[in-house]
Amino acid sequence: MKADSKNSTLAILIPILSAIFIAKALWVGASYYLPKSSVDKEYKSEVEPLYYRYSLASKKAAPKPIIVKKKKIKRVKKAPPKPRNLEVKKFSLKGIYYSKSKKIATIEYKGKTYVLEPGEEIKGFKLAKVMPNYVIFTKDKEKYRLDIFKEEKKNKPPRVVTPQREISTTPKPVKKEKKQAVYQEGDTTIISKEAFDKYRKNIKDIRRYIGGVPIIKNNKLKGFRISYIKKGSDFDRVGLKRGDIIIAINGEEITDLSVPMRFMNNIDSISAATITVKRGNEVKELEYEVR
């Protein structure tokens, strides 16, 4: 009787145990091919991308700082003429890094390259100011402006900026033009601070004037295509065209939504920006400055 009972228990256990064994073996085998860890979000560097401009022009073509003679003002006693600091003529502005927290200028002098921050000196010339398109040096109470990307304007009369006032033979932009929300100054589009603040505070309103659609290829974000621009609006004058694909902001490629989001989150501190757009087969860099 006992043997019969043992046999019947074994007969029940065999299919049960073999089923458990096969199931477990199947999953152990499958587990070998399954990932062992969770996918984590890839955090992009929180470092603010630097606004950067550089000149690849040859030394010959590189713009030279130029000094303008001061307007002659008749005085009873003529002040002795100031010695000219002509050494600055040998400086060449090769590049500018411009961000909220860091401003750096790359200067070439007699074949050597110097990287300067505001306050630093080169041959007695103190770097006083770094702007997105130019730098200001000071020496002996005189200011010297060094521009970048001004090859086409190298024949324009030079100028010296005095601490009291700026005397320049270059025609000043018409006042009316300066009041415009958006206007061109050389290669750079200048956006007035008032207009910038207006749109910054009402970001939702921007959608009324300009629209963009994300371009996704192989499940990867490649940029934003400008789907419309309202004619006559400020956005119509910023150099963007319908069909343009914005592919980078401040040199940072738009590979996911965090890039434009970070730019929007830091919009309060923006004073200059570069937007790279693909127009047809051409890639263009659009420079902006808030003033």
Partner: protein, 171 residues
């Protein structure tokens, strides 16, 4: 008769063992890997695996690098013949919230082997109750809003049909 009993015992035990021994967390990792290829990443989540279910809690869903939603709990019950997913308290974040101001209290997705290409959906949210389905073969999502409450933020995505408001899109 004994053979039939043995086969029945084997199949029943095999099914239970397959469900119980299923490496649910690893299978979820595989799903995550596939979602990542589509730009969707679920992160920050905590796992609790039991023989019958997998609980994933406090996760954040990001799309193309942007956090779009947070959930308090998702429960997977993979029983092979009937698979369910239940998500609770899905809250949209940041820009997604600005674009679509809705919250989802619960979302239930059911898949049965009888209709292998259809996933049925039951949703309760700030917009009311909704029922729908995903047709995997047709790449179609259809959701009917059964009891609309506050559908204003959703209206631009909805269409009006004979039964009322509905959402339909292809993927």
């Amino acid at each position: 008769m004994r053979v039939v009993r043995d086969i029945f015992l084997f199949l029943l035990t095999f099914y239970i063992a397959i469900v119980a021994f299923m490496p649910k967390t690893e299978l979820y990792y595989y799903l995550e890997k596939k979602l990542k290829e589509k730009g969707v990443v679920i992160y920050n989540e905590k796992f609790k695996e039991t023989p019958l279910a997998l609980d994933i809690s406090n996760g954040i869903i990001s799309y193309q690098g942007l956090d779009v939603a947070r959930f308090s709990l998702i429960t997977f019950k993979p029983y092979l013949f009937l698979n369910t997913l239940e998500a609770k308290n899905i809250e949209l974040l940041d820009m997604a919230k600005k674009a679509l101001d809705v919250d989802i209290e619960s979302l239930k997705a059911k898949h049965t082997i009888l209709k292998p290409f259809i996933i049925n959906l039951d949703i309760v949210g700030s917009f009311g109750e909704a029922k729908g389905y995903i047709e995997l073969k047709e790449h179609l999502v259809h959701i009917d809003i059964l009891t609309p409450k506050n559908i204003k933020p959703l209206k631009r995505f909805l269409r009006k049909g004979e039964k009322g408001w509905y959402y339909e899109s292809r993927f």
